[in-house]
Amino acid sequence: MAHGPAKGITRWLYTTNHKDIGSMYLWFSFAMFFLGGIFALVIRAELFQPGLQIVEPNFFNQMTTMHGLIMVFGAVMPAFVGLANWMIPMMVGAPDMALPRMNNWSFWILPFAFLMLVSTLFMQGGAPNFGWTFYAPLSTTYAPPSVTFFIFAIHIMGASSIMGAINIIATILNMRAPGMTLMKMPLFVWTWLITAYLLIAVMPVLAGVVTMMLMDIHFGTSFFDAAGGGDPVLFQHVFWFFGHPEVYIMILPAFGIVSAIIPTFARKPLFGYSSMVYATASIAFLSFIVWAHHMFTVGMPIAGELFFMYATMLIAVPTGVKVFNWVATMFRGAMTFETPMLFAVAFVILFTIGGFSGLMLAIAPADFQYHDTYFVVAHFHYVLVPGAIFSITAAVYYWLPKWCGHMYNEAMGKAHFWLAFIGLNLTFFPMHFSGLAGMPRRIPDYHMMFADWNMLSSVGAFLFGGAQVLFLYIVVSTILKGKKATAEVWDNPEGLEWTVPSPAPYHTFSTPPEVK
């Protein structure tokens, strides 16, 4: 019958257990979150005041690039995959992921891939310095030699993501307990099913675009070289065909998390479950036909500008459905504000702000003013930090008692929330103003007129960074000691994961649970 985990380090190295692999994903992501955060603080330290104080401009560019790459591919995506690993088998009543060995392979590629990516910092010519979007010809003709390592790191990260996504789809479609019909699945499972589909659809396109770069740089092809008949704009089209679905890959699972947390603490079922499912699917579909809204200023024909503008604005409809559903779930609920709920409510409010600034950016004629300014930086940090990062944080507080069997310290959790909340708003809200005033992104020095906003942003960034150190302390101390958690943890929460003891046994369901 059920056997426990193996002893020693090989438990982690050779594991096929979804909980072990989920934990490794989450710790890896946490480590990358701090590394990417340190890079962000280098940026904010340099931008504390005008003039060049701390780093060379070229190193500054390496920091913006590595910060973006590490946060996107190293922190946010693995964190969601880690949550998927931990939660999806439990939520659908499966014993494990569908393909457990491939699951461990997906994980172990990542440390190697990021070792290779981070090692470029120590190579001749330095790390990639062309921004996380690596536009050609900056990333081809004018790239440092380390770009080759960057390309191959992206290749194997992509392989990891594709295998992870295949595993998640196979688990959801094939491993559900009897009676767990598709429309009974928790929304986190639904959003991940659709996210996994997006991953399989676009990670190969990313592999394609970096392959084109590799060929242009080393083998004399002309994809992005006009002298041979190619076009640097082609790079942007292929990249953003990957890139726009990618940003939904980083937010759809967040929608699922928030849709789990809000009903628990409002003590009401989720309002509009099926509309949530359809809205998620609509967002995924639209994500494939809006990519060129990142390229309004590149010189597209007017028909293209209009198409991508209107298609982009359409996204506000299903996203609005979601926001109204969350609000309606809370309406007249018996609400309490434990830490996960604080993060979830902040998610709804702040993500909506990010959504609105996205709507502003979607207006093609207005975008000509905003393009490549700090307004864009403010926009995507508002959807990624209080969006992706807050939802992941909320998920950790919400499910940590289930994972380790201990309750976190509520007072410290709330302190973490308020520090993070104030820190992030202080960091990113002023960027709207510096951006509208015309401050360009990815520049280590700036005009005096932007000095005040930048100083505020830098203070906020260090506050936010400090809040995450507190988070680390809370997580570690909860795992080590902490009050014993009950099986239900919260007040009558919904879902199969709450029917098993805390901590969840090493193998959760050795026979399928009954789903009513």
Binding site: L99, R101, M102, T511
Partner: protein
């Protein structure tokens, strides 16, 4: 070995994934070093490839042995089916990126460089004298600097209009060969479902022969292009798209041929596959149909309307 818990399958710990990750890392790390001109590159690359190959050998071996030992539940078998299906979808999207690049270059990038789409200034000031055409024989660089151009176009193209008769046209015969191989692999599939082992081996063997002939003809075509037509990877965006699309397709054909050969050897040497349990072969045949469909797309987009 694996254990079955209750009605569910939970494999034991495995060293394979960690070694597979290490092998993959060493391979690409070596490749990057090699391409960047570091002398250790080729050795790292080959060592990585060796590790990876050994791991895959053992991994597939483990999966096959588990299945033969009857450890795989119907549910796990379905998971493998889903896995292969979605893997092929990811491959479809990889090719989509290159097909998309081809269409963008032909229909948007080149006409713009030629001044056709409302920014004639690009043509006038940057690439004066360049006229957009496809297949692109004269690159923008050639239009501006003549013989001193950095990127030169090919002397001849691969498109159908260049040849007199379709019967003497290699891509046509390659299409016939590859389409036939899809039929033969289907016959093989029908044969194993009817438990006709000899017919299965024969049809699968025929498929592999056709595959090898296809690959041989592709190599012939490449040699011809490089040595007699001046068409190379470097000859402007026409050579770029031609070789990247057909080259990636050829690599996939090679991989597919390898898969089918392994399946053939498994059947001939070990008597693997049963009428109702042959997914290893079926997955390879799906892959084979997939590379066939890609070829049909290539035949039209690159050769006929090239």
């Amino acid at each position: 070995m694996a254990t079955s818990e209750g009605t569910y399958y939970v494999p034991e710990q495995s060293k394979l994934p960690l070694w597979a990750s290490f092998g993959l890392f060493l391979t690409v790390f070596g490749a990057a070093n090699w391409i960047n001109g570091n002398s250790s590159g080729p050795y790292l690359f080959m060592a990585g490839g060796l590790v990876f190959a050994v791991v895959l050998w053992n991994w597939f071996g483990a999966v096959i042995n588990e299945n033969m030992a009857g450890l795989n539940s119907a549910q796990l078998k379905r998971s493998y089916v889903w896995g292969m299906g979605w893997f092929i979808f990811s491959e479809v999207m990889f090719f989509a990126a290159f097909f998309g690049a081809l269409f963008y270059i032909r229909n948007i990038a080149l006409p713009e460089l030629g001044g056709a789409i409302d920014d004639t200034a690009t043509n006038e000031f940057l690439w004066k004298g360049f006229e957009a055409s496809w297949p692109l024989m004269n690159t923008p660089a050639e239009a501006v600097s003549g013989d001193a151009a950095t990127v030169k176009g090919p002397d001849q193209s691969m498109s159908f209009s260049q040849v007199g008769s379709i019967w003497s046209w290699l891509p046509f015969w390659n299409t016939v060969i590859l389409l036939s191989s899809s039929v033969t692999v289907h016959f093989a599939h029908s044969a194993i479902k009817n438990n006709a082992r000899r017919a299965f081996n024969a049809w699968l063997g025929a498929t592999i022969v056709l595959a090898i002939v296809f690959l041989f003809l592709q190599v012939e075509e490449y040699l011809h292009a490089y040595h007699e037509m001046g068409l190379t990877l470097q000859s402007g965006v026409y050579g770029t798209t031609f070789f990247m699309l057909t080259g990636f397709h050829g690599m996939h054909v090679f991989l597919g041929t390898f898969m089918l050969t392994v399946m053939w050897l498994r059947s001939v040497l070990k008597g693997h596959f049963k009428p109702d349990d042959n997914f290893g072969f079926e997955a390879a045949s799906w892959y084979w149909h997939f590379v066939d469909v890609v070829w049909v797309g290539l035949f039209f987009a690159v050769y006929i309307f090239g």
